[in-house]
């Protein structure tokens, strides 16, 4: 062939093909308008229904007490006193357990991470599809490495999740999230960073379990098995300090807890950013271990 000489300087980079593989996934996502619109509008629904629906701080209101139980009939002044008491109770309970006075802000931060978790499950499905429809067979004959393939899946999964999380973040501000004294424009970047790292970690888990799988059913069963417990056994909906001890132990090893904690520290909490060091160290280690795990498993199992 006359063109033989041209293609010789191939593979200067051991991760060649990573960009192509990642953009393949994202192209497929963008060009499917239904999936794209659904995944992007999902955050609005979540925040609107869940965020506004669970009005826990509203419990601490004089309205929650039956008037008639106040005997003798309350005077206007007594009523105001009780009302003031409730307001201070609310702010005391909320700040000491939830860290903020309104539950919506508390929940919005965990919904961002919950959504990240849900979005990364896609990488698991796409590995199964690639196996079923022969793409993996083709890939194994090219000079691209298995590490690159796995990293492409992980990075694209994390990027998809990140796009959704950023949209959710924007909507949370529109819906009136109460920012804390820690908040600065750059802490937004910090939140984005922890979301991405957490997304990489979760994507890796889903990629790792789907490397040998040929069934979508197995994957969706696994996803449901993992996701809901990860969210409920964390500080997502309720402060861990009020949970039984055994459950607190689980909450404390669950990386979801640390990711949510970092997002809250960056956006709605007060009292400085020092806490996020632990969060980043924990989530970062989690992501690193799961990435290494999925790469090792890919080398072992992908071509069987």
């Amino acid at each position: 062939m006359t063109r033989m000489a041209e293609g010789r300087k191939e593979h200067s980079n051991p991760l060649h093909g990573l960009r192509a593989l990642t953009s393949r996934e994202l192209t497929k996502w963008f060009k499917n308008p239904i999936v794209f619109i659904l995944t992007v509008s999902q955050p609005v629904i979540w925040l609107g229904l869940l965020g506004k629906g669970l009005n826990i701080s509203g419990l601490f209101s004089v309205k929650s007490l039956p008037y008639l139980s106040l005997t003798p009939p309350a005077t206007q002044q007594q009523f105001l006193q009780i009302s003031a008491y409730f307001t201070s109770l609310q702010s005391h309970v909320m700040t000491s357990y939830f860290g903020v006075t309104d539950y919506f802000s508390y929940l919005a931060c965990s919904l961002i991470i919950f959504l990240t978790l849900m979005a990364t499950t896609y990488s698991s499905m796409s590995v199964v599809l690639d196996r079923r429809f022969g793409f993996i067979d083709k890939l194994l004959t090219t000079s691209v490495s298995k590490t690159t393939f796995v990293m492409g899946k992980i990075v694209s999964g994390a990027l998809r999740a990140l796009v959704q999380a950023i949209i959710l973040l924007g909507i949370a501000f529109l819906f009136g999230i109460t920012i804390g004294t820690n908040f600065r424009p750059y802490t937004l970047l910090g939140a984005v960073a922890i979301i991405f790292i957490f997304g990489m970690g979760m994507s890796s888990i889903f990629v790792a379990v789907s490397l040998r799988s040929t069934r979508m059913e197995t994957q969706s069963a696994f996803i449901n098995f993992v996701n809901i417990p990860l969210v409920f056994a964390s500080n997502a909906f309720f402060p861990a300090s009020l949970m039984p001890n055994w459950l607190q132990t689980i909450v404390n090893v669950n990386p979801t807890t640390y990711a949510i904690d970092a997002v809250r520290t960056f956006l709605i909490n007060r009292g400085g950013l020092s806490k996020v060091t632990v969060d980043f160290a924990y989530v970062g280690t989690f992501a690193l271990i799961t990435i290494i795990l999925s790469v090792v498993l890919a080398w072992r199992y992908l071509n069987k």
Partner: protein
């Protein structure tokens, strides 16, 4: 330039500890030749191709391509070969052009080179008009052509094709063969293909190896293999004979064997055209009347039957390969252009 491009010695693959898929296979493929592996499903063809293309590690034995060992120098090997698999591998959600560019990137071909090359290749297989259409709208033949050029994007010197025309109709199959002949003729490529279509091996291959139960049963040019069968088949029916005429027919020197079924005789003979008149004369001289006579040359079909003792044998493969084969057949039948 007739040096051996592919050299295989004692290549063996064992699955799950006891299923011997490929059993000490040895052969070599010369530069610029089209070499075919012919055998039924489950004979070990795909496993052999997977070992030669570095996807599976051999359990025993050696194979090298251009002197590079497929197990220890797999990156070198991957860069010098192209592989077109039995299954469709293209991403259906992407366009034909996007698919070719993706595979180019997986080989690390620089983008500007890849662009130029993929347009040339799309043109070669007449897909230019469809290059921006999603692959899911392609017909079976178009998909095969796309798979073919995806396997050529890295300028391979050797091309491996696993069942290149599986599920295609006769015309599309013939068109695919033409593209393969062009590759051999104009680009001097060496082609290794597997097939279970006799006529494919017959019309396309310079040499054929018949493989069954993981073992090579015979290797040769299609013509040699046919000759090895011992000649042509003459079918002769005699109208008014009650007695056996086998011995009479055997007296013609070029006749190799006779089988009788009632009035019909199946005669194996060298040079059928010249032998048939002698047989007719001999029969007539004894006062018998020839009712019908037909002459057939041996096809690779018969070679195949002779060696494997049966026609196409279906064996249970792995579940995923069965699924993929069904998928391939289903998608091959997509709307034709």
């Amino acid at each position: 330039m007739t040096e051996d491009v592919i050299v295989v010695e004692g290549l063996t693959k064992i699955f799950n500890g006891d299923l011997i898929a490929v059993d000490h296979v040895s052969f070599s493929v010369k530069n610029g030749e089209i070499f075919g592996f012919l055998g039924p499903n489950g004979a070990g063809k795909t496993t052999t191709i997977k070992m030669l293309t570095t996807v599976l590690k051999p359990a025993e034995g050696k194979a090298s391509i251009f002197g590079k060992d497929v197990a220890s120098q797999n990156l070198n090997v991957k860069n010098s070969i192209g592989v077109m698999q039995q299954v469709y591998t293209a991403d259906e959600d992407l366009t034909g052009y996007q698919n070719v560019m993706l595979i180019a990137a997986l080989y690390g071909v620089p983008k500007d080179v890849a662009k130029k090359r993929s347009l040339e290749l799309l043109n070669l297989v007449e897909l230019t008009a469809f290059k921006d259409k999603e692959v899911q709208t392609y017909s079976g033949g178009m998909r095969r052509r796309l798979e073919l050029i995806c396997s050529l994007i890295n300028n391979p010197k050797v091309l491996f094709l696993d069942e290149p025309t599986l599920g295609l109709d006769v015309q599309t199959r013939a068109a695919t063969w033409n593209y393969l002949r062009v590759l051999k003729k104009e680009f001097g490529m060496t082609l290794f293909l597997t097939t279970h279509y006799m006529e494919e091996a017959d019309s396309l291959c310079d040499r054929v190896a018949i493989i069954d139960h993981g073992k090579i049963i015979t290797i040769g040019t299609p013509n040699d293999l046919k000759k090895g069968l011992g000649g042509d088949i003459i079918m002769l029916s005699i109208q008014n004979a009650t007695e056996d005429l086998s011995d009479l027919i055997k007296m013609v020197p070029t006749v190799k064997g006779v089988q009788r079924q009632d009035e019909t005789y199946r005669i194996k003979a060298e040079n059928g055209e010249e032998t048939a008149p002698y047989i007719m004369e001999a029969v007539r001289a004894e006062g018998y009347k020839v009712g019908r006579l037909s002459l057939s040359r041996p096809t690779l079909d018969e070679v195949y039957l002779e060696f494997t003792g049966k026609s196409l044998r279906e064996e249970e493969g792995s579940k995923i390969s069965a699924f993929q084969q069904r998928e391939t057949m289903r998608r091959a039948g997509g709307e034709s252009r």
